[in-house]
């Protein structure tokens, strides 16, 4: 394996509270030293004016394969991840068939190896076929390396099942990830319930639909000692519940999506289905609450919830269009433009939520850090790069983005996986 020398770097690694200029030396796929190597390296990258961080981790990605290859495949999705600066992603189980057996997991792992882009970790089903009735074989799934359990956008409705899942998964030390939404309250909704939905006559999804289930999930995690990860929270209520739970010592973590800190429900005045996401784009007060929670650490991770959808699925009536936005290739730019540049987060705080925090939540050893001996997953970020979101040039198979035409700052200049340069901005 070629040796790699990154020189003139600003090394930024929140896992070690590291932020200094220096060099990085990589050998055999591992980070070996922070100074220039004695011998000449096979690959030398000059990272002047760039920020060198641990490889970014997106802990919530829909890869769509198997079953919805018209939207994305494991090969295209992982390529999109590289273009977005991600060296590792965790994919969720809402495929067809759902990922609820060892064979399903191994299929994804196999396709990811064949694609040979970024690392792919699997979040498998909590319940068989995501039906919310019986537990999937969590032990067998853990044995083949899944990093957590989630029925994804089929919220676990039965509290008894969730309780058992918390208790049982304790044996494997894996988190249960839940999409918090009470279906009866959000039923038929296409956007956040508020003044905008009232004006547009569109059925709304009230913030209480999320808050009620977050509250229940926290109560069950607290009583069982289980590990709860709240996927894409989006309301002031969820944020407050999570903050208080953490103060009590409940084992709860949370993520937020870029569109939930960068957009509001007013986007729906366009009636454009690219703004139809779940959780929905919410009122500014909820956006502000999410940003506050990012600042004070209540929200641990930023995840794209990359939800690629073929264009014909989105160019239809708003109530017919499925929820979701493709996000792998815009997340870093949105973090820089909407969180770092306005001064909400420092670079260190922001990178922490894209590296070591998701690595800890999912238990990814030697990931999310530039520590000596760690896997040489590295993202070189050009913090000053100005670019315009144009999904026509994307690596993802889909182009459903609410940010088309946006001018963003901050982009991956190079994405290095296991010591090999897998992506450069010029490629």
């Amino acid at each position: 394996m070629p040796t790699l020398h990154i020189r003139n770097a600003r090394l930024l690694d929140p896992s070690q509270r590291l932020d200094r200029s220096g060099d990085l030396f990589v050998r055999d796929g591992k980070i070996v030293a922070y100074e220039a190597p004695a011998e000449p390296c096979d690959v030398v990258i000059d990272a002047r004016d760039k920020i060198v961080t641990p490889g970014l981790i997106d802990m919530h990605v829909h890869l769509r394969e198997p079953g919805q290859e018209e939207d994305e495949t494991i090969a295209t999705g992982t390529r999109a991840a590289l273009a977005g600066g991600f060296t590792s992603i965790a994919c969720v189980a809402d495929t067809d068939p759902p990922i609820d057996t060892e064979a399903d997991v191994q299929f994804v792992q196999h396709q990811a190896r064949r694609a040979d882009n970024c690392n792919v970790y699997v979040i498998a089903c909590v319940s068989k076929q995501r039906q919310g009735k019986e537990l999937a074989e969590l032990g067998q799934l853990a044995a083949v390396g899944v990093v957590g359990f989630s029925d994804d956008d089929a919220p676990i409705e039965n509290p008894e099942l969730l309780r058992r899942a918390f208790e049982y998964s304790l044996m494997f030390d894996k988190p249960i990830l839940n999409h918090a939404e009470v279906r009866e309250l959000a039923h038929g909704g296409v956007m956040h319930e508020g003044l905008v939905s009232l004006v547009l006559g569109l059925p709304g999804m009230p913030s209480s639909a999320e808050n009620v289930m977050v509250s229940r999930d926290i109560a069950l995690a607290e009583s069982t000692g289980g590990r709860l990860h709240l996927m894409h929270i989006s309301t002031r209520g969820s944020v407050d519940l999570t903050r208080h739970a953490k103060q009590r010592g409940v084992r709860v973590t949370a993520e937020v999506c870029p569109h939930n800190f960068a957009l509001t429900d007013e986007s729906l005045y366009t009636f454009d289905a690219n703004f139809k996401t779940n959780p929905p784009l919410r009122h500014q007060k909820h956006v502000d609450a999410c940003i506050e929670a990012l600042v004070d650490g209540t929200i641990d991770a930023i995840a794209s919830d990359h939800s690629p959808l073929a264009s014909e699925k989105k160019t239809c009536e708003l109530d017919q269009a499925p929820f979701g936005a493709a996000g792998l290739e815009t997340t870093l730019g949105l973090v820089v433009t909407k969180l770092i540049e306005p001064g909400h987060l420092t670079w260190s705080q922001a990178i922490e939520k894209l590296t070591i925090n998701p690595a800890r939540i999912l238990g990814l050893a030697n990931k999310g850090t530039l520590a000596i001996g760690a896997d040489a997953d590295i993202t070189i970020i050009d913090p000053a790069a100005e670019w315009t979101v144009d999904p026509r040039g994307w690596q993802s198979k889909s182009s459903n983005t609410p940010f088309a035409g946006w001018k963003l700052r901050g982009k991956a200049a190079a994405t290095i996986v296991g010591g090999r340069v897998k992506w450069t901005a010029e490629s």
């Binding site: 569109l202 009636f271 009536e317 017919q320």
Partner: protein, 322 residues
């Protein structure tokens, strides 16, 4: 019926809008222009009975994805009164269920040489998406609970004819506001022309949030009856409700039905409107619906007048290339 015009109304030189998608985006001047044009066309057609040739050679397609009888008929009649050819395309349910997107359906209709598409759809915003995708003039004939601009405009025209003005009047919209495109169209139009608007109904169907738009919110009909100059009694939209927002129709009728007792406490010159179809005995009792204060059938005639105006204005703007 004669095809000879009585007198030829003048096309307003300041009109540039090719689509009529909602009332929200119209200015007060534009609303007034539509109302004035509707009145002149109503006169020129002798109360919407005679025929003009203002749209001769044009084709007007009704592209209805949701059931409708009266609105579709009214638009068809309006188009024919102005000499246009009409074409009906109805498809209940989603076009998607047939494997074709509604945009493709509309493009097919357009390719047949249609000038104006009048469309109704159960989903808000569908006419707006059509307008972005086809070059015909698009007229919204109702998109879900969002907007039904010609209904709002014909209600306002009826009020103006009966009361001579809109400014300063107190107009109550009573009933299922949440699911009503008629309410949304009336609220914007009436406010822009200076009326005070009250929305009244059960708290599950009348959100307090309307106050943020300067609308008065009431849940007790008896409290507001004496103050109203106009009451517009909306139908309960059972088909748009997922769970019933009040315990029974009986309770609704008792709390919000306009009846003789409530009429006795109203102003002497109160004007009663209902967009129809009306449910006799629910939101309105027969004696009120058929009584001297009711303008329900004049609304229907004005509907043809407003739709003639809207079709003519839209076609003219399209010809002018705007």
């Amino acid at each position: 019926m004669t095809s000879e015009p009585v007198l030829s109304p003048r096309y307003p030189g300041n009109w540039t809008r090719r689509h009529l998608l909602d009332v929200e985006s119209l200015s007060a001047d534009e609303i007034t222009t539509i109302l004035d044009t509707a009145e002149s066309l109503k006169q020129a057609t002798d109360g919407c009975r005679k025929k003009l040739a203002l749209l001769a050679g044009k084709t007007c397609a009704n592209l209805f994805f949701e059931n409708s009888t009266r609105t579709r008929t009214s638009f068809s009649l309006a188009a024919r009164r102005l000499g246009a050819d009409t074409l009906d395309f109805s498809s209940s349910g989603s076009s998607l269920s047939k494997g074709e997107t509604f945009v493709d359906t509309a493009k097919n209709i357009e390719a047949m040489g249609v000038d104006i598409v009048v469309t109704r759809h159960r989903t808000p915003g569908t006419p707006h998406l059509l307008a972005q995708n086809i070059s015909c003039a698009v007229v919204n004939a109702g998109d879900g609970a969002h907007s039904h601009p010609t209904q709002g405009l014909l209600d306002i025209l009826t009020i103006r004819q009966k009361r001579g003005r809109i400014e300063g009047l107190t107009v109550a919209l009573v009933g299922d506001i949440t699911h009503s495109r008629t309410a949304r169209s009336n609220i914007w139009g009436l406010q822009k022309l200076g009326a005070h608007v009250i929305v009244c109904g059960p708290s599950t169907l009348v959100s307090r949030r309307w106050e943020e738009l300067g609308v008065e919110v009431a849940h007790n009909l008896d409290d507001i009856v004496p103050r109203c100059d106009v009451m517009n009694l909306l139908r309960i939209q059972f088909e748009r409700q997922s769970t019933r927002p009040f315990p029974s129709v009986r309770e609704y009728a008792l709390l919000y039905g306009m009846n003789r007792q409530r009429m006795a406490r109203a102003k002497d010159d109160i004007l009663i409107l209902a967009p129809g179809p009306i449910n006799r005995g629910v939101e309105i009792t027969p004696d009120v619906a058929d009584g001297p204060h009711s303008a329900i059938l004049e609304q229907v005639t004005n509907g043809v007048a407003v739709r003639m105006a809207v079709l003519w204005l839209a076609a003219g703007a399209r010809d002018a290339g705007s």
